[in-house]
């Protein structure tokens, strides 16, 4: 398996960071239509993705 290039890794953490932000925006706009459980699942995903982006930034 080929190792990813530095650019590919940076693209990846940008991708996860952007995805986390998109989830945050989605929650903001649709909060009223979601149950607390649904919201919490999305919040968890947002936090995990932000953390993952931070980890990729540090480990690569």
């Amino acid at each position: 398996m080929m190792s990813p290039t530095v650019k590919q890794v940076f693209d990846l953490f940008d991708y996860f960071g952007n995805l986390a932000n998109a989830i945050g925006e989605y929650i903001n706009f649709n909060k009223g239509n979601m149950t607390l459980e649904q919201r919490n699942k999305l919040y968890d995903a947002e936090i995990d993705l932000s953390r993952l982006a931070g980890e990729i930034n540090d480990w690569c």
Binding site: F13, G17, D58, W59
Partner: protein
Amino acid sequence: MYKKSQFVLFIFLPFFYSCVSLTEVHNYATTSVKALNNIDSVDYTFKDYCQQDCELQQLRAGEIRPDFICTCLSAATSADEEIQKILLTATAYLQAVASLSNNKAFSYDVSDLTQAAQKGRLLNLDEKQVSVATKAGSFIATAATTMYRKKKLKKYLGEADTLFQNLTETLVYLVDNRLRAQLKFEYDARLANMKQMLDNANDRAIKQMVIKSYLDEKAYYSKHDSLIDAYVVLLKAVQKGYHELYTLRYKLNLESTKKLIRNYSQDLQDLASSVK
């Protein structure tokens, strides 16, 4: 006897004449070293990020876990060390300029420089950047051991310019891009966590505590983001200033050059005071 003195003076006059004062260059280089060492005032490191992230993980677990292991500490410490090594190489270059322009030979322990250039992986750096750091460390170490003197300043500035420009570019990249990104990701994760806490809280007092926590986090993020901004501006000013010094290396004794260097020095002092 009189004639002998005149003869001696006549013979050595060109040597005295060539000893032009390079006080401005010396002061500028000394100011630059102090300015670059202001990185501590940024007060944010990869290790800080790691500790904050581990704290967030434990908070989110919602229970006390004495056996929790913070797995990022080793890599974060290594990342901070790499930045310090590159900074050490850059300041060693400036110290050499300060010594050469002070009509003094310079000699210092170069083992750290060699280590900076050769040891370990450099965080997120590509092959070209690693090569730049290696070359810069080796060049400065060699310059130090061969005891360049004042008359070698032009040669030193000439040979080191590209290396120093690339080295500072790498440092700008690590601070402006990588360290700043780390600060942002951690803030984003904490922000999402606080939004969740606020959404789940029914008690007004708890909501107020969460909001206070949000305000503290926001202030922390803004403060450190601004400090990174200020330090990057400072780094770029040093980079630009030394390239200018390189282009003017044959005119260092001109009054116009001295004035320009004095201005650079003053600008740098002003910029350094903003990194507090």
